[in-house]
Amino acid sequence: MIQKKYAIQIDDLTVAYNYKPVLWDIDLLIPEGVLMAVVGPNGAGKSTLIKAILGIIKPIAGSVKIFGKPYKKQVNKVAYVPQKGSVDWDFPTTSLDVVMMGTYGSLGWIKRPGSKEKKQALEALEKVGMLEFKNRQISQLSGGQQQRIFLARALVQNASIYLMDEPFQGVDATTEKAIINILKELRKAGKTLVVVHHDLQTVPEYFDWVTFLNVKGIASGQVKEIFNDNNLTKTYGINYKVAINK
């Protein structure tokens, strides 16, 4: 275990909001360079897992290591794409401004973004096909466009690990294709991607690694090895028939 390099190593992670544990004793090793789906039913703790990795939620027990160190020391190596419903899109600002926020972490306290940061933000906007909307008020963006803006903001961070909370939620087929192409490109560049995903049909097509989660960790590994009826049934509780034997 020590020889191999893991992007994220989670040991005995337990999280509870009130009395009921949301995550129970999770052990998870995420190798570097995988494009991983986190699947599980509603309330399985998928978003919580992401938030616990990022230190947004404090766990009751357990530890999370990013490339062998705690998150706080690796802030600049991790980028986060929250659920788009987590913010108020009527906030008075523009697309470009939101994407620029991705540079704030590397700038650190007080220092303001300059022309270099603006250039990075414009490049990210172009990558997600949103350059023409750079001065658009964010309240006037469609759901798919908002999702692209969040993706661009994470791209600007130029991180090694990308944690994404349902990036395909409520986007149309075109946007979904565009986003998955960018994710695959990132993996090719050696990045590690952890994506909370709901559409089981597309798991084999989009991802090479998968984690089944339902409060406890059910299974984690290569899609072609462990994405089967057995694990799906264990995770979702019912006999889940998905055409995966291709």
Partner: protein, 371 residues
């Protein structure tokens, strides 16, 4: 008192300056409260400061405004952190926590005030002026304190502008970037509490939250840019202070605090009605114009479909055959004729060449946006 007095009267100048500065800092910090959806926090804080006012007097036995404001500050801060603690540690939602702390502290404050009134030196207290405010008691020193607090909060705002903006928009993301959101939260909250406490003497416990919210709510209507919004809110706040003081000074027996709040509220009303992009009036006008235009376009394309059945695009048709079509009225036909898109003669209509081309291009455009 007339206008000339107003500009030459030293006391009045002091009061006006004070209320203007108060309005400006409230507008500035109120923008943060509004954008964080913590509008009611201000109300709870100001009510929570009342027991502090009373206790400061009971403990020290003197009516020193600075000591009293210090008491208000401490008690306001305690209330604020209780609210935050309740929301964080229990399953109660923030509105419940706000309501609870507001009434608890305010009740305690009123209780203490009545207790003070029964004390031997009761009549000298006059602490109830903090309930509704009494701008007339503002002196130069108060204004100086207000100005320096405004200056400091402006510097802090400019220094942490980037971090504040990030926190306002997406607090979780701010945390993941490695910023200490707790520190930022405490910083913003502290200055909001400070602004409220500064306003107690002028506007009073009960109306103070309006000073915080009204200028910000009005400013939001006019701009989609955060910095412009904060500047505008400060200006609206300052103007409310100036006009409010002027109006209450020229009329006898009008207390300043409520007048200032009413002026601020009228800024909100005007903004909600007349702002070009978000205002109700212009939105309704745009909506109607769009509907009318759509009506005409729909009628024109309907005629186009009929005209396409004939070799001659300007083949005349009876108006009667439009009867099945809901969108058409005599008025819309006349309008189309005015635009030279159709020609009317008797009970017949015909597309003109211009109308035919227009309809074709409408169809093409709509078809394009469909896919």
């Amino acid at each position: 008192m007339d206008l000339i007095d107003f500009f030459t009267n030293y006391t009045l100048r002091t009061i006006t300056l004070g209320t203007a500065i108060l309005g400006a800092i409230c507008g500035m910090l109120g923008s943060f409260a509004v954008l964080r959806k913590q509008s009611l926090l201000g109300d709870a804080i100001s009510h929570a400061s009342l027991p502090g006012i009373a206790l400061a007097f009971i403990i020290t036995g003197v009516k020193d405004p600075n000591l009293i404001l210090l008491g208000a500050l401490i008690s306001g801060l305690i209330g604020t952190f209780w609210i935050k603690g309740i929301t964080k540690r229990t399953r109660l939602k923030s509105d419940t926590a706000l309501g609870l702390i507001l009434s608890l502290f305010f009740g305690l404050g009123i209780l203490l005030l009545t207790f003070i009134q029964k004390m031997p030196n009761a009549n000298q207290a006059g602490l109830d002026k903090y309930l509704f405010g009494q701008a007339a008691t503002l002196v130069e020193q108060d204004v100086l304190i207000m100005a320096s607090v405004t200056g400091v909060s402006l510097i802090v705002l400019l220094l942490f502008w980037k971090e504040f903006k990030l926190l306002l928009f997406d607090p979780d993301y701010t945390k993941t970037l490695g910023f200490n959101t707790r520190f930022l939260d405490i910083l913003i909250t502290f200055f909001i509490v400070l602004a409220i406490v500064l306003g107690l003497q002028t506007v009073g416990v009960i109306l103070m939250s309006a000073m915080l919210l009204a200028p910000a709510a009005a400013a939001r209507q006019w701009t989609n840019n955060l910095s412009t919004m904060i500047v505008l809110a400060s200006i609206f706040g300052a103007l409310s202070g100036i006009f409010g003081t002027a109006i209450s000074a020229t009329q006898n027996n009008l207390s300043t605090g409520p007048v200032i709040v009413l002026i601020a509220a009228s800024f909100v009303l005007i903004s909600f009605a007349f702002s070009p992009s978000r205002g109700l009036i212009f939105r309704e006008m745009r909506f109607r114009r769009n509907r009318k235009e759509l009506h005409l376009k729909k009628t024109l394309t309907f005629m186009y479909r009929i005209a396409q059945n004939h070799d001659n695009i300007s083949h005349p048709h009876a108006i009667r055959i439009l009867n099945n079509f809901q969108g058409f009225t005599k008025k819309s036909l006349l309008k189309l004729e005015n635009q030279e898109l159709i020609s009317l003669s008797g009970k017949q209509w015909a597309l003109t060449k211009k109308g035919y081309e227009e309809a074709a291009s409408i169809n093409k455009k709509l078809g394009k946006s469909d896919d």
